[in-house]
Symmetry: D2
Subunit: 282 residues, 4 copies
């Protein structure tokens, strides 16, 4: 085992900070913030089209949406699968958005990669090492969410499983950890943002939707994440949260998302960042 | 989604308690306790043979051992793979032991099933739903460890993923949860033993080795687990813990294991249980 | 600051294990287990008399009962105060039981000591250093509960505040810690029992009532605590749990308590212990 | 017990948001942020004078400093006591700062109130109900820190103990909760800032020093706290952190504090707030 400071994810191993770029120009890790938004699950063409239009209009550049959903219960909605991916891709293309979506099974990595610009490894799979290795071998940009009770060290080691396969394009995503207080769904740990900036050269974004589980906390925690130095956000947005197939309680409406991005621009400016795509600020 | 009381794992769904039986006569869930022991990792023929002999001699009936290891670091020893499985199987057969071993990748389920009597789903994979479904489809007895920060409800829902594929042979294994106190590796939650006896018809065993991380706590916590009503134990045993490739600090020596089983017999008797195989008590 | 191994609570500082003795012969820390039981709150003469009679009958030797209650809400029942102490004392005396009761305020230590044989410092006050020092100065036997999220090191340091005032009579009481799983009120950490046996010479008992919050888990967790090596139990018992002013959900009926002590005797024997008072086993 | 929505701390019980004002003009809860800073412990006249000068110069208006320290170990530095209070008061007066300092013992409330403008109830004493009642009776402004593992509901109920004594001047202070990750001392829970804004009319400030335990995380987490909507900050500052009697690792130097306030002003402006005293912005 190489000494820790030789690990590929560690700051010491890499002279510059990594910037992960997607084909539509989105960059994770530079001066411009990466704004990823969309529904928990892709449900229909109308739903994803309305969302994509609003995300693009508000300054987002990455469309998120689940087609394969990791659900606690086998009886809960599991996603539209390949059809959901096709809907997601088409809506994103109509609005020049990139696509990030979750992959659950190592056997699906290639198929999902046909539709996506970035593969998400979810919190429950942060230590699914078979999946991490396939994600590494795919060469695709990877969004690696923190596990429900993962230490920062374990999270960086999970990233190492991707990096060691020759794939340098890993973005870390804080999404809250388990806590004793039922007041929020998870406990969003923003201190990892500056902590990771010391420990690793990889970009870090924040998911305030899963991080709190409450739509009305998403805007203030988004502002806080950017003030703390995050390189972007992953936000759940839905045209009709009350009717969402999953995670409605934590989804913003399209209007709330537009409001968020306006306020976000002001806080971003106060810390020397901006939203949009590099060279093409909103 | 069926109402919770109709879920297959729930006590209400099943008139009798489930007894999961292995080919060598081991039963999880009856009057006789199931005693599973062996090294964290299969390292060599000599190591696994010495362990198997000692486990059988002391009254254990299931040999555990890892051939595919889920390691936090990609640079740590990852197990001997298929060769490890073959060594494990051969040693078990020489001593009439059953084999339980972990599977990490849904693509490996069939291969591992060729060597094992029972497939272990580890804590990190408790919500690896692709793996759970393959485990269900295999029809093999499944040992489902609790996730690092899984609630009891989530754990039962993970079992549901196996059951819903038509496989009724699931044994739950408590192995400690994440805590704020670094004094032990995990916090062994024995209260789930009587709690699960209310909620589910599935058998429950306890892993005091991972549950504490400290070899010297394994014996008292094993006695406590049985007193609380556990249906068996999963214990790490190694001929030379100080030289173990993994988890040496929590492994019993062969002598310590023999001492444990002696004391265990006394506590088991006090709560109306015994060790060994049904009809063939030690 | 003296080096840790010189701390008064540490095993290294004391050749023998400490046995804390009460006037009625109860001993914490010897071969005989100390069985403490009673209601959460003293509510009436009838209630405490019925409980005391049943506790004594079943083999308990210490009557617990709260007269000053630390309640989360200022609007909840706060206890009967001094009148409660008098009722408690009188009922205990009628049945040759010792009295343990909680003190909340350093200004009340002397007054409570007039009625009690042992002062309880509750979980919320484990680091109330003013109270710990007064408890130390009182010279009374002290029952020190573990804080809601206290590490073992912090707990021993809290005991040190009592010991350093010249009072060697401290009994530690595990009562569960905060956890992410709402299935139980707290997470009872039995691994501290053998861990503390290594680290300190002080006796350790277990409170399975607060430790689980569910009456039906109290018996199995009591058996487990004794199997793990605990020196005694602190159990909530009430003649009519459904009508209790506080903590009814976790209180045993008098009949359940009698059933518990019977089973307890069998497990105690299996680990070389017994219940009752030294020289006068039940 | 009144229904929860009738509790004095609840938003529903109070038409307007509470603004807690100190004699030097500091206001907690209005447009202007309250900036409280100073050393963990008052150590000497030179130390507290240098700190007070720098705090005032950088725009802080409240000097914090401990004279009675709640230390895990009885052998650790316990503070200068009354002499520390006198030094603190004198230094604050020389720079027109208000004083906030912790009180540990209900018997000390009146004495500490002679020197302080605001009494701090520390995390370990959040449910020290005797102390809370005395704090309520004192009529002094109270800074109530969140307990180490307190839920938001429990925290508000602790505030209720002060309010119910007729003292409406309570400021809540988030300072991090216990977590499983040793990477930081505590886990700073900024989501309580917007959550409390919904639940209560009381002002909320954040302590990023205890909240992270690492000086280099204090600036980014301070910016994040203000972006999330906090009404102020409590920051540890020391002329020579490396020589501090306590908490050096989490203390800012005087220069770092000045840097923080400059950046803070920019983020405050972005969310419609400013630093300084009302009517006299820095």
């Amino acid at each position: 085992m190489p000494p820790k400071e030789r690990h590929l994810a560690r700051r010491e191993a890499h002279a510059d900070r990594t910037i992960v770029r997607l084909l539509n120009g989105t960059a994770f890790g530079g001066e411009t913030l990466a704004l990823c938004a969309g529904p928990c699950s892709v449900e229909s063409e109308a739903q994803i089209e309305a969302t994509a239009a609003a995300v693009a209009q508000a300054g987002g550049t990455v469309l998120r949406g689940g087609a394969f959903k990791p659900r606690t219960s086998p009886y809960a909605f599991q996603g539209l699968g390949r059809r959901g991916l096709a809907l997601l891709r088409a809506a994103a293309d109509r609005h020049r958005l990139a696509v990030v979506t979750e992959v659950l099974d190592p056997r699906d990595v290639r198929m999902v990669a046909e539709y996506a610009d970035m593969l998400q490894i979810g919190a429950r799979n942060m230590q699914n090492f078979a999946l991490l290795r396939e994600a590494g071998l795919s060469g695709m940009p990877i969004l690696l969410k923190r596990g429900l009770a993962a230490t920062v060290d374990e999270w960086l080691m999970a990233a190492e499983y991707v990096l060691v396969e020759g794939n340098p394009n890993v973005v870390l995503c804080e999404r809250g950890v388990r806590s004793f207080d039922p007041a929020t769904r998870n406990l969003l740990d923003l201190s990892v943002v500056p902590l990771l900036a010391e420990l690793t050269h990889l970009p870090v974004i924040v998911d305030p939707s899963h991080g709190t589980g409450l739509a009305r906390l998403v805007e203030p925690m988004s502002l806080a994440a950017i003030a703390a130095g995050a390189d972007g956000l992953l936000v759940e947005v839905h045209p009709e949260p009350a009717d969402a197939a999953s995670d409605g309680a934590q989804s913003l409406t399209l209007e709330q998302f537009a409001h968020l991005t306006t306020r976000l621009g002001e806080v971003a400016a106060a810390v020397g960042r901006r939203i949009g795509v590099p060279g093409l600020a909103v």
